[in-house]
């Protein structure tokens, strides 16, 4: 049985015994969580896993008997700025982590997206949720995704066993990399209790160059050129005219904005900016925004501001090769109502559909343009029930994924159906 806690946030009257639906389990420690999971596994009760519950609309709808939240397992366990490594309990608010990092002039290099605005959720995003969803922002193109910063984890598998994987050092190839497997598994493979990740020094300064008035495909070419130069672009997005006005309260110059961020030493950013400006001039007029405005712009891009519209219009997150993004959107436009903008040099396309999600059409086009995947991030309940949120996989790969899932959660109690087709 689970440990009895006196903490008020912990549900000690065990809902699993009563069979109550939608009971909320909020363990305050790993041991308690393990007990709850063991009990659930024995009783065959399915659990909906969450952290701060700010990204819970992600994926297929889960039909569970209870909710298991890590939110009460909070706190930074270890942080040595000189080592650039932090260990935190899964339920630690991202905000708390970012605050303490800021105090030490450090940051999460992968810029985790905050899903609240776009998904219309409330609450506190947790660091466990960040890694469980592999939430990565614009700097992913330079510094890698959340999974690339994740060094070690503790989690509880579907049998209620506490498992440790990875460690706290940057280089570690000891055994199978379960860390990567759990990152981005959306709570379907295990319940994260603790994460250890690398952090990065904050750049001394940043600025963003803006090339104005480019069509999507030309914008993609400009971004490809910039990424091929030795200037270390740390953000490359294309904001078509339809969304441009939403950013920086409309202060970006007229016409579509192709934006490129440079960060680093104060001695070097202006030099690189000059070099990049010279290379971009042939595409169109180049302007720039400095430090704070630049930071603000990328926060808005990260959090998909244009589509934080309190609507239920279907929102797709599409990952394709950078060269395919613009062609994909152009092809889709011929057959469906879609508004879109691009991050990750064009490889991450945010698409808001006017009405129908057009899942089959979109996925066929992705395959035609060289592969990738589309995830339905948001939609009305009816649409969600009819549309597989994650990209369906070829049969052998789907079968393999299912075999892997069974090895971690044999009874299938974690977020059942969330990632399945």
């Amino acid at each position: 049985m689970s440990a009895i806690s006196t903490d008020m946030t912990s549900i000690t009257a065990n809902p699993l015994d009563t069979g109550a639906m939608s009971a909320i389990l909020v363990p305050i420690c790993e041991e308690e969580a393990a007990g709850m999971i063991r009990a659930a596994a024995e009783a065959g009760r399915r659990l909906s896993i969450s952290g701060g519950n700010t990204r819970s609309g992600f994926g297929n709808r889960v039909d569970a008997d209870a909710v298991l939240r890590s939110a009460a397992m909070s706190g930074i366990v270890a942080y040595d700025p000189a080592e650039m490594v932090m260990t935190a309990r899964a339920g630690t608010p991202v905000a708390e982590i970012e605050d303490i990092l800021l105090e030490n002039n450090q940051m999460l290099s992968f810029e985790p997206m905050d899903h609240r605005a776009v998904m219309g959720t409330e609450g506190e995003p947790t660091i466990g949720g960040v890694f469980a969803t592999n939430a990565s922002g614009p700097r992913r193109i330079l510094a890698g995704a959340a999974r690339d910063s994740l060094l070690g984890i503790r989690f509880i598998n579907g049998e209620g066993e506490v498992i440790r994987a990875g460690g706290r050092v940057m280089k570690n190839v000891t055994g199978l990399d379960l860390v990567k497997l759990l990152a981005g598994s959306f709570g379907t493979l295990g319940f994260l209790t603790e994460v250890t990740f690398r952090v990065a020094p904050r750049p001394q300064t940043e600025q963003t160059l803006i090339v104005s008035g480019l069509e999507d495909d030309v914008g993609a070419r400009a971004m490809a050129l910039a990424m091929g130069l030795s200037v270390e672009v740390s953000g490359a997005a294309h904001l078509p005219e339809s969304v441009r006005g939403r950013f920086l309260s409309g202060r970006l110059p007229d016409g579509a904005a192709t934006v490129l961020r440079l960060e680093g030493l104060s001695a070097s950013v202006p030099v690189r900016a000059e070099k990049l400006t010279a290379a971009l001039h042939r595409f169109g007029p180049v302007s720039r925004v400095e430090a704070e405005a630049s930071a603000h712009l990328w926060l808005q891009i990260r959090d998909v501001l244009p589509y934080a519209d309190r609507s239920q219009k279907p929102l797709w997150r599409v990952s394709v090769s950078p060269g395919a993004g613009a062609s994909l959107v152009a092809a889709l436009r011929l057959e469906a109502g879609v508004d879109a903008f691009y991050d990750w040099q064009g490889g991450l396309v945010w698409m808001r559909m006017e009405a129908d999600p057009e899942a089959a059409l979109l996925r066929a086009l992705i395959a035609r343009f060289g592969g990738g995947h589309a995830t339905l991030l948001r939609a009305g309940d009816t649409v969600r029930d009819q549309t597989p949120a994650f990209e369906p996989q070829p049969a052998p790969l789907a079968a393999l994924s299912e075999r892997v899932r069974q090895k971690l959660d044999p009874a299938g109690i974690f977020n059942p159906g969330k990632m399945g087709a």
């Binding site: 490594v85 592999n134 498992i163 280089k171 000891t174 199978l176 990567k180 990424m227 990209e391």
Partner: protein, 484 residues
């Protein structure tokens, strides 16, 4: 060397069918792609971890994914173990075969399939060497970042198998951070694709799982890797110190100050002497410890960063600072460092450790390493990636003296345990292989290991893929018995 690490007992039913198996394989492969004569199998009995040797049953050298799939399908059908092999440069015995195993060598799959500068990717066959990717994309202004010291010879398939690192990983990450997609042949011959040119794959991160799985989950036949624009310039600088502790503390301070150079490499006096003798790179011979710190970018950037680093080094009593004056000089500095292991062969046999420790523990672990090796009556040379705490003590011994060899192995085990106890891990980039297999219990609990093995079994329920490696032989689900 008297062998301490056991291999799985060969499957008698496989050995008994040897001639049939070879005849069948001959039907699946062109004649030049199958090696089976006793004499010719000998050179495949080991890799760069020469202390252990086993003859394989046969060696297949396929040229296509279809041939790899055909051989795997056949072996799977008849329960024949398979050991994948790239260039055979593993320092942990990852490619050492066993008597009942068919080696599948990827050395004929050396085509560079596509270089896509728009998307900054290269798609290559698994047998392409690490360095030849960078060579191929260099004219376009790009490079492939992970640079294991054996990059001249090691293959991308092997790099994926071991999640290889290298000196420049401090800034650019290791293989897993630079790998976008693979074509993977599963043990039953099914071919699947993971990832592609897009930055994050859908579904579970099986690509991340396969990277570093040491040939236990399948055989990678093609890979798509991320390319990076070459920096405007790069400058390695040599910092000589009177003590190893001073150098170690300097490293921690540089990283802690928020500067991340591309590489920070450490050599102690024995290593400096060995490398200088080979490369004549101009390493200072009058210091106890040497750091090679490389910065990159424009001249202004490099100057700014170096000024900061020099200031920190001065606080730690740096004795000599030498900036290199030309590209040739820089190349020599790296040639010396990257040849360190091989060059050690000029003076002795060695085994190379690969533990990683938290930076704050570097000085302590260095000191203890020296004491441990001395305690076994042996010598040690240290040369490693200091910026990320990935240590490579080279334990020097005489391989023709069985007693010394046994002591070297024992000292190595002690050092690796020390690394784990200091908050680190057994292996930072070389892999577990056969060498560190039985130490896995020191780093992981029974449940941790069991979970990893369960996941492994999802790919290979019969444990046919490189089965003597990575996981301790007992406690495996449904495994064969251990040889004496």
């Amino acid at each position: 060397m008297s062998e301490v690490i056991a291999f799985l007992k060969p499957r008698a039913e496989v050995l008994a069918r040897r001639s049939v198996i070879i005849a069948d394989l001959a039907d699946l492969l062109p004649p030049e792609c199958l090696v089976h004569e006793a004499r010719e199998l000998v050179p495949f009995e080991t890799d760069a971890f020469v202390a252990y040797r086993r003859l394989p049953l046969a060696v297949a050298l396929p040229k296509t994914t279809a041939e790899v799939a055909a051989v795997l399908k056949y072996c799977h059908r008849y329960g024949i173990p398979v050991v994948p092999r790239g260039a055979g440069t593993s320092l942990c015995g990852g490619a050492i075969p066993q008597e009942d195993a068919v080696v599948i060598g990827l050395s004929r799959m050396t085509q560079i399939l596509e270089i896509d500068t728009f998307n900054r990717t290269a798609t290559v066959q698994a047998g392409v060497t690490n360095l030849s990717i960078s060579d191929a994309v260099s004219p376009e202004g790009f490079f492939y970042a992970p640079d294991p010291s054996s990059q001249l010879a090691c293959t991308i398939g092997g790099n994926i198998g071991m999640n290889s690192g290298g000196a420049h990983c401090l800034k650019y990450g290791v293989t897993t951070n630079n790998l976008l997609g693979v074509k993977l042949v599963l043990v039953d011959g099914t071919v699947i694709e993971l990832g592609g040119k897009h930055l994050d794959a859908g579904g579970y991160d099986l690509l991340g799982l396969v990277c570093g799985s040491e040939g236990q989950l399948g055989i990678v036949t093609e890979a798509t890797v991320r390319l990076i624009a070459k920096p405007e310039g790069a400058r390695p600088v040599l910092f000589g110190f009177d003590t190893s502790e001073g150098a170690g503390a300097c490293v921690a301070d540089v990283i802690g100050s928020g500067i991340i150079p591309v590489a920070i490499e450490f050599m102690d006096k024995p290593a400096i002497e060995i490398c200088e003798a080979f490369a004549k790179a101009g390493y200072p011979l009058d210091v106890e410890a040497l750091l090679i710190v490389e910065v990159e970018g424009s001249e202004a950037e490099m100057d700014a960063m170096l000024a900061l680093i020099v200031e920190i080094a001065c606080r730690h009593g740096v004795k000599t600072v030498r900036e290199c004056q030309s590209a040739t000089e820089a190349a020599l500095i790296w040639k010396g460092r990257k040849s360190a292991f091989g060059a050690t062969g000029r003076i002795a046999d060695y085994i190379c450790m690969d533990g990683t420790v938290p930076l704050s523990q570097l000085p302590y672990v260095l000191k203890r390493t020296g004491e441990i090796v001395q305690g076994f009556g042996l010598r040690v040379a240290n040369v490693f990636h200091a910026g990320d705490g990935n240590m490579h003590p080279l334990i020097l011994f005489n391989a023709n003296d069985p007693d010394e060899a046994a002591r070297a192995e024992a000292a190595g085990n002690e050092i690796l345990k020390l690394c784990v106890d200091a908050g680190g891990c057994l292996t930072g980039e070389h892999g577990v292989g056969i060498e560190k297999r039985d130490l896995m219990r020191h780093q992981y609990s029974k449940a941790d290991l069991h979970q990893q093995m369960a996941v492994r079994a999802a790919f290979d329920a019969q444990w046919l893929m490189n089965p003597s490696k990575v996981f301790p032989l007992d406690g495996r689900p449904a495994m064969g018995t251990v040889s004496a």
